[in-house]
Assembly symmetry: C2
Homo-oligomer: 279 residues x 2
């Protein structure tokens, strides 16, 4: 009885510690040998631990635990969010963005606060990442500034670095590739600059941005990736406008869709994107 007790306390400790370790390194395969070393437990015991953890994660919808077999095998956590929970969450963000007083002169929507709240951008990033695990991007690319927090959190969920495009080349980024692109929202030619050493030929990129109207900036990022011989596996934005319906980029995935607003309206019409409803 005493032995069972002690054994169970050890299991309790292991499970709590493993949860912390796995969830703080999303999408990274952690070898059982690392846990074996840390806890001084047999691999068979750890396999049981993993089974319990996987069940618990599923029961309480806290993400997904996969066992990866093979030479580089181990266990991997992904902050998977169920379709229903993702829809609920995106709807709650859409409701906040639709509150009166957010529409600025010119029909612009104030969303800088929402886009810098760590808990909100972390969930948005996890939902975005969930759509692209199978495409195995090597990094997430965004264009400064407002999209950086959500892009960082998407990168964290995917377990890859973030790469940030700049509006002009900076001395502290070293040699850079500059391209020009047509920004729909600014209605003019803009410059995008990316450090030569930021990415490598043959890598795979997921593009994340905060807002898409005509799609010019995202298109610019795709052109930039072509200059680097990088494959773009997808484009994800927080909000896309309804108009223009034909964007420069048809395949982009948005979390929310916004009807165009004008100055006279006090609030915007914002709703979760169709793909969140339909899956």
């Amino acid at each position: 009885m005493q032995n069972i007790r002690r054994e169970n306390i050890r299991r309790n400790e292991r499970l709590a510690a493993m949860t912390r370790i796995l969830t703080s390194s999303p999408n990274q395969v952690i070898r059982l040998s690392r846990f074996a070393e840390l806890f001084g437990a047999a691999k068979s015991t750890l396999s049981e631990d993993i089974d319990i953890l996987a069940d618990t994660m599923a029961t309480f919808q806290l993400g997904c635990l996969d066992t990866v077999t093979g030479a580089a095998g181990g266990v991997r956590y992904r902050p998977a969010i169920t379709q229903a929970a993702a829809l609920d969450f995106v709807q709650s963000v859409a409701n906040r963005l639709a509150e009166p007083g957010r529409v600025l002169p010119g029909g612009f929507l104030y969303m800088a606060d929402i886009l810098s709240m760590p808990d909100l951008v972390e969930k948005m990033g996890a939902i975005m990442a969930g759509q692209f695990y199978h495409d195995e991007p090597d990094f997430v690319l965004t264009m400064e500034t407002k999209g950086i927090p959500v892009a960082l959190m998407a990168a964290k969920a995917l377990g890859v670095p973030l790469v940030i495009g700049r509006r002009s080349s900076k001395v502290y980024e070293g040699p850079a590739v500059n391209i020009n692109y047509l920004s729909g929202s600014a209605g003019r030619i803009e410059t995008m600059s990316l450090s030569r050493r930021a990415v490598r030929e043959g890598q795979r990129a997921l593009i994340v941005d905060d807002f898409m109207k005509a799609g010019g900036t995202a298109k610019g990022m795709m052109d930039m990736m072509r200059e680097f011989s990088v494959t773009v596996v997808g484009v994800c934005v927080v909000i896309a406008t309804m108009e223009p319906e034909r964007k420069r980029l048809e395949s982009a995935k948005a979390l929310m869709v916004m009807d165009e607003v004008d100055d006279e309206h006090e609030s915007a019409l914002i709703r979760p994107a169709d793909w969140l409803l339909n899956q």
Copy 2:
């Protein structure tokens, strides 16, 4: 025996789920009633769970679990990192930054890659946050662009929003306060813009930035906060240069210190800041 088993499995589940929930909302007090509802467990049982969790976190150096008493009481997770682990980690980052090839023409250091790696900035942000929990900041302020990832992670660890100062006012940020400041590294007058609605009078700010040379940008952020009647509880940067020794801001806390480099040197001399060694 069967009962003990089932009871322990339930405890296993609760501990894993509680770990995930607590660690994903750092510095937020989570009420026991929320766990009671989620698990259908008595508060006395949950208190035992919390004790086990707190011990486990301490044993495996995974952070710190506090019980908060009173009307708004509950339990709170902080990603506290031990002094020794913080020093080890900062030393490893300093070593990477000191690798040959990072010094650019003009003596600038390429660190954009390190500053956008989610796991690295998350640890840096947690170390920074650990120095300021007791000052209870209401938000973290940074200036675009390179410091945004680490500032976001500091904000996440503190459980507060991030506020981003811009180099010029943007239509989608609404009415803004603009100030001019002397940037030491750029050697010229720069503009800083912050949306009126980003912060409220009487709040408390922690300033986080990536790099400090003369301290002009940080000083600019402090001046900006004065315009908003906001108290600055501290200034934290990833790297400060040794020179000039007298910076515009004496009280800033850096994770690393860098000797000035010039073009002829292939690598920079970078070491963890003294306070990481001395505590």
